[in-house]
């Protein structure tokens, strides 16, 4: 299996996982966004929200890194610039969810 096929399969698998997770998240975001500090902390620090939101972060950043790299493939011809852009994208897609998940698991109700 070549890299392009693997990338496509990861993209499709993450998309299947993201559909229910995004629906769950947006429904809950609507119900909590205007609430008090305690309610927001309670939402992000209690189960199953803590687990589901962490899962959403991992798959959302994986999906976006794979999708945006496709956009780079379509619009950037210079290989060096494309590789540098992909590296920045991948670092961002690992660090942002990782730090946020650590924060979520350290939130106190």
């Amino acid at each position: 299996m070549n890299n392009a096929t693997k990338k496509w399969l990861f993209l499709k698998a993450s998309s299947v996982v993201l559909i229910p997770l995004m629906t769950w998240f947006i429904l809950n975001l609507i119900s909590v966004f205007d609430k008090d500090y305690v309610d927001i902390v309670s939402f992000f620090s209690n189960q199953p929200s803590k687990f589901l939101f962490s899962l959403l972060l991992v798959f959302a950043y994986l999906f976006s890194a794979l999708s945006i790299s496709e956009v780079f493939e379509d619009y950037i011809q210079d290989e060096k610039i494309k590789n540098a852009a992909n590296k920045v994208l991948n670092i961002f897609a690992i660090i942002t969810p990782l730090i946020t998940i650590i924060i979520i698991f350290n939130l106190d109700t």
């Binding site: 995004m22 975001l29 609507i30 966004f33 945006i68 942002t96 924060i103």
Partner: protein, 127 residues
């Protein structure tokens, strides 16, 4: 190594169809959604500052602008969800006929607005 792969033509030379509108909107909403998730990550990080420092965020989220942004995000996520389902159906080999692409494209566009209203009403426990 020199890459001679052809690039995508620039969007201004396309004649607009429902399919192209859905396709470009899918990419735009994808970028909006990941930017929104990143802002939500900062929002979560700001919770570490404590209750006293949250007041300003709460005032913003309860303002008309804040509510409009959240509603806009709901539409953007709804569009992405429906468009992704359309892509998955096409990946299974269905819906490639011209008529089918127009119908499914329209379902995504109209459905995203209907889904936004439904999610808002369910989220706010109006239904």
């Amino acid at each position: 190594m020199e890459n001679n792969n052809p690039l995508s033509p620039h969007i201004q030379i396309y004649r607009w169809h429902i399919s192209s509108l859905v396709s470009i909107s899918h990419r735009i909403t994808g970028i909006i959604n990941i930017a929104a998730i990143t802002i939500i990550c900062f929002w979560i990080a700001s919770l570490l500052l404590g209750e006293n420092n949250y007041e300003l965020t709460k005032i913003f989220l309860n303002s008309i602008v804040g509510k409009f942004i959240i509603l806009g995000l709901t539409w953007s996520f709804s569009f992405q969800i429906l468009s992704e389902i359309r892509h998955l159906i096409m990946d299974l080999g269905y819906g490639f006929e011209l008529r089918a692409t127009k119908i499914t494209g329209l379902i995504v566009i109209i459905g995203s607005f209907v889904m936004t209203i439904l999610i808002y009403l369910i989220g706010k426990q109006f239904i």
